[in-house]
Symmetry: C2
Subunit: 390 residues, 2 copies
């Protein structure tokens, strides 16, 4: 095949954004031949505004069944991700799914089992993994050069959202519609990056999620989560959609150095000695290991984000590149979010891996009593809401 | 009186440092006329090295009873603070006590009752309250200009200490000798500043203290504490004596702005609108209140630290100045530390005010099984270990 034929499921904020990238010619080896949305009105708008030779469908399932496509990009509400991934893979399509992989681990695990058996490519839109600063952090830690993990703190509170934002869609910020808030909707990237960069999953979490604290919503809009890792490290993850100005500061201490990422700048401290050896052997009370400092500025050109992920996915289908993000890894992020929510629901420490059934049960209780609301139906321009480390 | 006659109780690191400040002429209206230490060897060294017309005593109590002094500076191990404060006040002396005010609230409360009834001055060595950046933060929040508190995060992990440090004194880092570790010994300033700057005490704490995690010690050397405040704000306090390089970053978000203090620089964001009003009324999903930014650099000359506190104390005794730090406020810091430790001992959320008796009981259990160790007896130069916001 010359170009990979794509179907895009969901013409909301993200799906429309992806379609635009194809139209602008940003996806070298891909072309959109079909799009779907449950709203005929939305499809009419799309056909009016977006040029190209593509078919429209009012159902994701119908597109998967009937459209002339090699691959689909799934950009529908979170709950439908695993079902549609499974359907598309089973129909023999390659799948690139928006984050999060799903809302609860039980569902994601079923999806992963299908993906494991499929010979089609399955990837996730972890566009922040194209950020050169995070790649650098991942590479330096996975090389072993910085020794063992001791501490990770991520304060990511620059997700300020107004009530108007949450009111724009009936599904937004409800247990039934999204299955979570700041963690599930804003932070999947950071939570994925956290475990990807440090190279391990926490084994204990005690989180303090506050639900509808700053907004008239059902789900969490303020979170402080404490974590412990198998290596003995501890961590803290702090997020909110009610802070302005917010922060985005990721600090990782290892036994041979520290990584600090803030304001599109990565500061690397490399200690000349292992901290623990130094503690144990130094014959001075107040001195500390000497270090060298390197500052890495953001390389905006290489920070390709969604375009980078879609290009890699298309090229991997064509056999030109190796697939960058393996879709099955998405369960880690969902498990961390589930653990943080479960810990807050029960006000207790949670050990990982979590009990899939227990979480599903707790979530289901909340879905059952989830309130109905009317959405304004406005499609928001999300283009300024991702990509940076500021 | 021309100059206030001081006795200094304890010729360890801190007491010797204070004495040096008198000898150097840094204390305008004070003179040292007596010092005490339980070690005759240490007193011999002092008399050899430190010039002046002063008497030496091998007991704090004896100095308090017999010496020709108007005031004492107490720089003995933590546990003895309240007893000696009470004795000195009862003998009619003014008292400036090193931090912390004591080790457990039960004891500090007894001390405060005596201080409340005394007509002598009682102050604490909260030298970090002379730091112009922290004063600015305190002033701006207490003025009400920034609205209500929403979040406070303090990562203060630049307290790196070697095993050699802890081995230098037999009392160090034991439940029996110090009654705590990073919180009780390194962080009393920050914990005092936290409540002083934000202007309220948390009403709930869930802390994760790790005891002897990085060092061969009994007490905590790694802490992550989550806090909730009566105003609805949340907070996080992270400290360690095992991190290198460490951080010192204090971030406070209020409804009308943010204060960020790091690297001897205070960045003040003043929002043009109250965040909560903006959330509730703005008709845009992603926008946030506009703000003005002011950066305040450290004024090293005005950062007078211990010298500033001792001068103020002497001048207050002479009626020239108002006393800057009221000793009774020290209980807030002790209560916060006790709450963090109690929460960790019991692995539960603790509400404040804490149960004084419960904490005393838990501490006593640990004191009973506290191990004996031999100290090297080395007096460490602590002069580089305080004062900054880096």
């Amino acid at each position: 095949m010359d170009k990979v034929k794509f179907g895009i499921l969901g013409m909301g904020n993200m799906g429309t954004g992806h379609f635009n990238n194809f139209i602008k010619g940003n996806i070298e080896n891909g072309i959109v031949t079909a799009v779907s949305d449950i709203s005929q009105k939305r499809l009419d708008e799309i056909q009016e505004k977006m040029p190209g030779d593509y078919k429209v469908y009012t159902s994701s399932e119908e597109l998967i069944e009937k459209a002339d496509v090699d691959a689909v990009i799934i950009a529908v509400p979170h709950y439908d991700h695993p079902n549609l991934v499974i359907k598309a893979l089973n129909r023999g399509l390659h799948v690139l799914c928006e984050k999060p992989a799903g809302v609860y681990t039980k569902h994601v695990r079923e999806m992963n089992e299908v993906a494991d058996k499929s010979n089609k490519l399955f990837s996730l839109m972890y566009n922040q993994r194209t950020n050169p600063l995070y790649i650098k952090m991942h590479d330096i830690i996975s090389s072993g050069e910085l020794g063992t993990l001791r501490r990770v703190n991520w304060i990511i509170t620059n997700w300020f959202r107004t009530q108007f934002y949450f009111d724009s869609g009936s599904w937004r910020a409800t247990w039934k519609g999204e299955g979570g808030g700041a963690l599930m909707n804003q932070c999947p990237h950071q939570i994925d990056l956290l475990q990807w960069i440090v190279g391990e999953m926490p084994n204990k979490i005690h989180a303090h999620c506050h639900f509808g604290k700053w907004h008239d919503i059902e789900v969490e809009d303020d979170v402080t989560a404490y974590m412990e890792f198998p290596s003995g490290a501890t961590g803290c993850f702090i997020t909110s959609t009610g802070d302005a100005p917010g922060s985005n500061r990721l600090e990782i201490l290892c036994s041979k150095g520290r990584l600090l990422c803030e304001n599109d700048k990565l500061t690397i401290h490399k200690n000349k000695e292992d901290i623990q050896d130094y503690i144990n052997t130094c014959e001075n009370g107040f001195s500390a290991p000497e270090f060298e400092v390197e500052v890495v500025e953001q390389d905006y050109k290489r920070n390709t984000q969604h375009v980078g992920i879609i290009n890699n996915f298309a090229n991997a289908i064509l056999g030109i590149e190796k697939l960058y993000v393996k879709g099955q890894e998405g369960i880690n992020c969902v498990e961390l979010i589930n653990a943080m929510l479960l810990s807050s629901f029960k006000n207790k420490e949670v050990t990982l891996p979590i009990d899939d059934d227990e979480y599903f049960e707790e979530l289901s209780k909340r879905v059952k009593t989830s309130r109905l609301k009317e959405g304004s139906g406005i499609v928001l321009d999300t283009s300024s809401s991702y990509g940076g480390t500021k």
